[in-house]
Amino acid sequence: MWSLFLVLLALLSPHAQQTAYTPLELTFRVYEDGYVAVDYLISLDPTIVEVNITLFGRLYQDLVVKDQEGLPLNHSQITGGITLESLGSTSASITYVTPDLTNKSGRLWLFSVQTPISMTIHLPEGSTIMGFSHVPLALTMIDDGPLLVMPSGSIEVYYTLGIVGTREHALALIKGAEAKIEEAKAMGIRVDEAEGLLEEAYKALEDGRYTQAETLASKAYEEAESALREASGAQEAIKVAEGAISKAREEKRTRGLDEAEGLLEEALGAYEMGNYGEAEALALEAEKAAEKASVPINPYLYFFVGGVAVVALTIGIVALLRRGGRERGSIDVDTLLEGHPHLRFEDREVLRFLAESGGEAFASEIRERFKMPRTSTWRLIRRLEREGLIEIKKVGGHSLVRLRSRMRYGTSVSDNPGGFL
């Protein structure tokens, strides 16, 4: 009893003061992104004007302080807490959100706090507890996350948050697949199969089958990506084939080119249908075919050859006729030449040649016979024409040089006084 009495006397020490506030209840709600909502109920000394309250963390977002009647209490932030204007309030309810009580390393989250009283910690839905600093006073696994009651002091709780199999992950994969499909469609690529898978993925998501939605979305993404790759390959091959065909055309290698063009046409058709592998293969064949194409024989050459043959025949016939003519009547060139004593030697020789050739020859024959340049041959022929000794006729585009007729057919020059006609 004496002990108690003296202990009570100690209460009278001028330094003994009641604490200005007493923590009553403390709850932490941990969010998936590491933010923590704090709900702190304290009792207050109603005789004081203001009190410094130690809070948890350094940053206090959405801070609301209310008194026992639900009315807001004025406060200002200080290091490690707030100064609360209590003014007769008997209790205060403090709520705020802070990012300072959690930390992440790899896949492991750590929630740590130092508290003066035991507390309730509500971990995020889908979290798995990986350790505590103290044995919990109570532990409950509820639908929206584990609920722990921990003792006062310096407390740590380790946990992980799953991603795979969650709605968010399924949605993220679906959006990724969707974007890939849009990318392909913007390039005119058909992605029917990918779109089908995506639709199924959306359905699974709505039904809450998240793991299945993830699988379908992943497949849709891969399908779209594959189509993009194949289409790109086919486009490239078609471009190369088109280039090869153009080149062949420029080089006039048109023989066999129609085959290449046909294959290219088929390749384009396959591309339109979305059969990109097939389109690429056909385009490659078209390219090969274009490379094999060769220059065709020119059709005009046939005409030319035909024409030359006709001319040759004509000349042959004419030559035959000339021979015949030569046999009907010979030409007395000497007598002819006596009548034209002023003729040059080469002129006389050409006349003799003409006489020997049945009275006529083509200019080209003369040129050939006497190995004369074209111009010299024509000057000679013109001289003889001026002398009245020859006449020129066009036969098949060629110039036929003919002794004047009175000189050709059985008439002698002597019968033609005056020389030639």
């Binding site: 004496w2 002990s3 204007e85 007769g88 044995v135 968010e168």
Partner: protein, 467 residues
Amino acid sequence: MPITLFLLAMILSAIPASSQQVSLEIEGNYYPPGGVVRIYGTTDPGANISLVVTSSLGEVLLNITMVADTVGNYTFDFTLETDAPPGIYTVSVSIDDEVETETFTVILSALETLTEQLIEVANNSRLQVEKEIQRLNETGLEILGKALEHYEEGLEALNESLEELGKGEFDDAIEEAMEALRSFKKALLLLSVKAPKVRGEEEAERIRGLEVAIERAYEFLERVEELAEDLMEREYDVSDIEGNLTEAYENLENATMLVEEGEVDGAARELGEAREILGRTWAQLHTLMSSVRMNRVERFMNHTQIRIEALKRRLEALRDRIPEEDVEECLEALQNVEKRLRRIRGHITFGELEEALEELEETSEDIEEALEEVEGRWSIFLSEVDRLQAKMLMLNHTARFLMKKGLDISEFEEEMEEMEDEMEEIMERLRERKERIEEVMEEVIERRREIRKNRMEDEEEEEEEGD
């Protein structure tokens, strides 16, 4: 305060002799409310042991002195209250300067249930580690040997825990489960450093982050709405605020729809708009809170005035029992406080709230000191003296009853008389204000030590005579 109590208890129980050894054990680590905690240990035979049990809230639940038996053992069964607060409790035993401390935990669940839950938690953590190992195997990345080592250790501890649970050794099972958790945690830490992110993980985290940010915005909005409703009930004009809150709700609804569709950018925009509105709304509420504040200050002033009136009445009632000059001094202090309160009211009347609060803050310490002088110092002292006197009266009645039963109460009577004399002396000296209360207390403590010492010497003499 608890430290003061503890130190005093130690001083009172001090036996001026050489330091003795003491051991302390607690049977079990975890107890439910209402449970019986067995505290035991060994020390010198016949030694006086001080035993203190402190709750998780720092409250002293038990403070006794026990005597060790003839072989030096001691045991005490401490029964927890059925509404004992959960948490870590401290048990301290002391002899002279020697102190031993142990703890036990009051849990909320049944021990077996808690054990099973902890084992389940440890098992889930095992699955997490295995999932991570599998993922690393699939990606062909190397798994650190140390990580696998920790995993194996965790498996071993988990199996041990299950065995102990089967035997009903819940404390041991809990320890093993905690050990398993520690090992699995270490394993996961090492594994996850290497593990690459899965496809879509970053985007999924972004979606998730946005979802919870929207959720928080909703919660804040609801709190603001609640505040607005409270203010409205008190006839404050919150019409502007209502419109804003409706708009913010719409933005948050849009944000929710968009994030469900995976439209993260759109959802973030809507959330940003909602937050802006909430910020504006909060500023508007602050304006309203000024008048709440004003009312609160006035109410506080009124309560303080009422308190002062009550204290004045008490002082008058104590006039016969405490020195006159102390009464006058306290009354004067209270009158000064009243003058300051009138000045503060003046500030409030002119709407000078900040000045009022500043002065109120400055005088609050003065008020506390003056009130403590009246209310704390003398009043508590006298109340406790009254209480102790009532207790002494009760003990006297009990002693008489025991005497009628034939028990020898002479020693007890002697002690009672001594206490009464001492108390009377103290009261006289305090009334005469010969010295301060603290000095009196010291003298009492010294007097008590002398009594103890004398008693010990008497007991030793008796023993020698007995031999």
